[in-house]
């Protein structure tokens, strides 16, 4: 069953978002954060207590973050919805680069390009094309970008440049 995150753990997650992406913790005051199956979920705060039914409960809220190899990883679906609150570590790619990233799983943009966009490396990033937030990526070794989009989305965006 989902468990409401302890206040110190909640603060930890929100501090990460502030530190990494510049998202203000106050933006999430209207939400509970639940832990369930090694993942954190953002769930709209309710006026009363909710007793989730044990026998039928499947999930609540939006998958928010999880811990992957020591890193906190924000989910693509969370970033698509709340990424507009971020102001740093946002990587802009053109459609051809997105297509290549989705096809090959990773691309190396070179240090110059990463520095120009003021990306802090290593760590998770928000990937944008034009005005649209696509989702999560991971930057390693200063300039390697790894795709962290859901599989179906990644497959669909391989040909984004032809659309």
């Amino acid at each position: 069953m989902p468990e409401l995150l302890r206040p110190e753990d909640r603060l930890g997650l929100l501090a990460f978002l502030k530190d990494r992406f510049g998202m203000a913790p106050s933006s999430f005051e209207a939400y509970h954060i639940y832990a369930f199956k090694r993942q954190a979920f953002l769930f709209r705060r309710q006026p009363g207590k909710i007793d989730f039914p044990k026998s039928s409960f499947v999930r609540c809220g939006l998958p928010f973050m999880r811990l992957v190899a020591g890193y906190l990883k924000p989910t693509t679906v969370f970033l698509q919805r709340f990424g507009h609150l971020a102001w740093k570590n946002i990587l802009h790619l053109d459609k051809a680069q997105i297509g290549r990233l989705c096809l090959e799983g990773e691309i190396d943009l070179g240090l110059e390009s990463i520095d120009a966009q003021e990306i802090e490396t290593p760590g998770y990033i928000i990937i944008k094309t034009g005005e649209y937030i696509l989702g999560a990526g991971l930057i390693l070794d200063n300039s390697r970008i790894l795709c962290r989009f859901p599989k179906a989305m990644r497959q669909a965006l391989v040909h984004i440049n032809d659309l």
Binding site: R44, P53, F57, G61, L62, P63, Y132, A156
Partner: protein
């Protein structure tokens, strides 16, 4: 005689412009996209759709567009994967419009998968309040969860239970029972005259539907509103089910003026006569609304 021929024989005198209905069966089901206003403004979404090669026309609902491209339309990959659109028939928007959910209300969608109505409820409620989206089958629950995620919704709890046995610790302000049905409203005819979208099986659907409508009603708070809907035109799955509820519970139908052409619920069919209140239900014929045929009853708990 197959099932559909029997249906046609029974309904010839009941469906308005019956020839128009038969002609309509030969046209493919139109494609609509609902814009997810939780993530994007309608004008911005329409602009993106245009840039993805989608031609569309406006509908009576601001958030819904009718795709006009010829078969097959291009795939709006970006709009879809960023959760900006949900392919959804115009008819399927009607239960949410009839329910008119408000932010901060507590809602139950008893047969929620794959999530068209639940996600539409969420955007109408501005992702506030509570939605419990329930369904019976695990495979369908997977699709439901994927759509809730894709649309970026935070106010929904997903549960898996048989609707008739569903329990929750409190009553709901509003309930949707979009019951499993024979799907006659979706029927279309191919070039050979063969009916497409026909569901096989001999399940006793009215028995299931009666169980669901009763449970949905019992989960309503006093004064709460329930919408019962199906995508069939079959009286036994519609008016007869609503009549059953009116006999068993202190339920009352309330009128609703839909923004699309409709016909009143049928109160007399073959040898049977139903509660007069059933006439306040709404029937939507596919050739009249250019979408899936639909039935809807808006019920209030006294």
């Amino acid at each position: 005689m197959d099932k559909f021929s029997l249906f046609l024989a029974d309904y010839k005198g009941l469906i308005p412009d019956f020839n128009g209905y038969l002609q309509g069966l030969k046209r493919p089901l139109p494609l609509y996209y609902r814009i997810n206003t939780l993530k994007i403004g309608t004008e911005e979404a329409k602009s993106l759709l245009r840039s993805e090669g989608i031609w569309f026309e406006e509908t009576c609902f601001e958030e819904l567009v009718l795709v006009k491209n010829h078969d097959p339309p291009p795939s709006p990959v970006l709009s879809y994967h960023l959760g900006y659109i949900y392919p959804q028939a115009l008819s399927s928007c009607l239960p949410v419009k009839a329910l008119d959910p408000k932010p901060h209300e507590r809602l139950l969608d008893l047969c929620a998968a794959p999530g068209g109505k639940a996600t539409h409820l969420a955007q109408t409620m501005k992702d506030m309040g509570l939605i419990v989206a329930n369904d019976r089958k695990l495979g369908r629950i997977t699709a439901l969860m994927a759509n809730i995620k894709r649309m970026g919704i935070t106010n929904t709890v997903v549960t898996q239970a048989r609707g008739e046995h569903f329990t929750w610790g409190h009553k709901f302000d509003k309930v949707i029972v979009d019951a499993p049905c024979s799907g006659i409203g979706r029927y279309r005819m191919d070039e050979t005259g063969h009916i497409r979208h026909m569901k096989p099986g001999k399940t006793d659907l009215p028995a299931i539907q009666k169980g669901l409508i009763t449970k949905g009603f019992d989960l309503l708070r006093s004064g709460g509103i329930m919408v019962y809907s199906t995508c069939t035109l079959n009286v036994e799955e519609n008016e007869e089910v609503v009549h059953y509820l009116l006999q068993k519970r202190r339920a009352k139908l309330t009128p609703w003026d839909p923004p699309v052409p409709w016909s009143p619920g049928i109160t007399r069919f073959k040898e049977k006569e139903y509660d007069k209140g059933v006439g306040l239900a709404r029937r939507f014929y596919p050739h009249k609304i250019h979408s899936v045929g639909f039935f809807l009853a808006r019920v209030v708990k006294a």
